[in-house]
């Protein structure tokens, strides 16, 4: 049927196959060969179809934007600690610092992660968060549910807000303060446990 080509492609361009079989006649006007990469924004002969924007699509768009916004506030958005270029100040000890690298702001279930990934958990600030990141609370015998005076709780909360787990130098002082709080009936014993574990692991790694 086909294969009426005339031999081995003499003439204009020598190609490995007979160009007549593909349909290019002899002496025909071919489009000029391309000598450079195609332009970055080639002109479009056919304009694209307009977007489908119904009620559903609008709602999903709003959902997407909200989702993105929410993700930025969650602790999963990892921001590297920016080192202060300024002089070290005394107020650094008592002010909120940005997230530091060696703590993690949420409490994952460490049993589902390999041991080597374990880092110290940073205690979230005791604000009115409805974000309930539950820590498995171990029932300890020394947990007292005392009748706490409201002012004492309030005072302790403000004190707590001022403390931070900033550097390893501060750990000792913090541990003592936490022990103080423990006696007054505050929870979060896990914090201390993790701290101890991390201190031990750090000691081990250092040695």
């Amino acid at each position: 049927m086909a294969g009426l080509g005339r031999g081995q492609g003499r003439g204009k361009g020598y190609m490995s196959f007979s160009i007549e079989a593909v349909g290019i006649g002899k002496g025909e006007n071919l489009p000029p060969s391309i000598l450079q990469p195609t332009p970055l924004f080639p002109p479009m002969e056919h304009k694209p179809v307009p977007l489908v924007m119904g009620e559903e699509a609008e709602y999903m768009l709003a959902l997407k934007q909200e989702f993105r916004g929410n993700m930025k506030t969650l602790p999963f958005y990892v921001r590297p600690a920016v080192s202060k270029k300024d002089v070290e100040r005394y107020s650094d000890k008592y002010q909120n610092s940005e997230p530091s690298d060696n703590t993690i702001e949420w409490n994952p279930d460490w049993k589902r992660l390999p041991k080597e990934l374990r880092i110290r958990v940073k205690k979230p600030l005791k604000e009115n968060t409805s974000l309930s990141v539950e820590t498995p609370v171990d029932p300890k015998p020394s947990k007292k549910t005392q009748v706490d005076k409201e002012e004492i709780i309030h005072k302790l909360e403000t004190l707590e807000k001022k403390e931070e787990e900033v550097t390893s130098d501060e750990e000792e002082g913090e541990k003592k303060k936490q022990e103080e709080e423990q006696q007054d009936g505050e929870e979060e014993y896990d914090e201390e446990e993790f701290e101890e574990v991390s201190i031990c692991s750090q000691c081990q790694m250092a040695s």
Binding site: G5, F17, S18, G23, H46, V78, L117, N128, E134
Partner: protein
Amino acid sequence: MTAQEVRLCGLLLQEHFGEVVERIGTHLLRGGAQNLRTIANETNTPLDLVKKSLCVLVQHGACEFRSGRRGPGSPVEYRASCERVLRVLRYPRYIYTAKTLYGDTGELIVEEVLQRGHMTMSNTVKTVADRLTHNMEEGRSMEYSEVVSAFSKLVETHFLQRCPPVAEVGTAATSATPATPGTPAAPASTAPPTAESNPDCYKLPHVTLIGRGKRRRSSDDSEEQRGGKKAKMDSESCGDEGIYWQVNFERFHQHFRDQAIISAVASKMDQTSSEIVRTMLRMSEVTTTQTAAYTQPLSANEVFRSLPPNYSISRPILDQYLSLLVDDPMEFVGKSGDSGGGMYVVNLQRALANLARATLESVVQERFGSRSARIFRLLLRKRHLEQKQVEDFAMIPAKEAKDMLYTLLSENLVQLQEIPKTPDHAPSRTFYLYTVNQLPTARLLLQHCYKTVANLIERRLFETKENKRLLEKSQRIEAILASLQASGAEPEQLTEVEEMITAPERQQLEALRHHINKKKNPENHIVGFFMNLFVNYGGK
């Protein structure tokens, strides 16, 4: 994992988790399975940041870890999954589907679980109840039991599933999920356990959650809340520690697939036939596996009984509809036997293949014009054609046909197949046939879609950065307006504040918002979704 996919994954990770996680994630995607030290060294990131990022990635299921390949002493290896990261594109669709099926409660449950990766049931219930309470009027709050019922509905229909148990890596200890006594702990298993392999995958834990959502109040109520909190339930663990729930993406994809088939039938034929197909799909939801080529056979009698009551059609009419569906060239429904009034199946794979083919055809039509689309359709149906035959069958003059064919060829939508007549493959004695391979072409389109989405995201980021000043100004103005209105200001003050933003700026803002909102258009997703489904089914 093509370059386009990796680029898109990188952009998505950056948007949702920040640059550090993006760097680590892209590195893992490009480099395969690696251990902690290698990642830290090759990305020049401090070890702690790497650990944090890996925790985030594992939490969201984007990364898996297993013990090293070189034996029990080798370090843990991490592997990222491109497919899982790309699912982020579909999150709004999942949430919207949950809303249509289970209302606002279902929507919030799915949204929370998607945001956190995986959560315990008690955690989810509390958070969702709090959020719902926040949106209600003063004095009303949401009962936990309502949220629990929505949650259990989602689990029953398999939209949520338990996370697979994790074998403790690096030690000889067994995994820590208390509710799966029957699963053998296999720390040396070669394949990571899937969620489905757990027999208790869809079993709700026995937890009684009693309470109401808490309204987030201002600080003066904080002590009261803390006291109340202590009394209620936070002081004891809720009994479902270690049982985490994640979204079952495959089930959602099944749902989308069913919806696509039903809407295709509705647009090709009429509403009643789509209802029939919907009934058939609903009946075979639980009996069909996810990768089945067709549903289990259903007899016409069963279908007749299960039709929704408002679609009361008589039995002979139902038979007519079914035979019409069977004869349709799109092959949605097939007949597999004659017992019980006729046994019918829904051809899932064929239906998807045909839908993908229709999408391909429409893409070619929109990009190259209707005559090229004619040639393309011709090649799809006739499989292999020569140059001359294409011109004849398509009834297009030779020169134009040639032009169009070469354009399609240069875009890789059409391929040239050589068939030699002689063993020496001499060009003069070889047939050259044009052909279209559906599966590779679908994959190509899918990659184009990913590239488009990535380009759109980058453009949106660029536009946001360029106009950051304007956006911030408008945000501040809105905040001022809101606070003024809240404190009951006069209209003159309001108009004065509004005029702070000049008219051309306002126009610019509107145009900008318009553009930004249009990015990542959903259409792309639909096309990409079809292609994805088709490719995954290994379509014919």
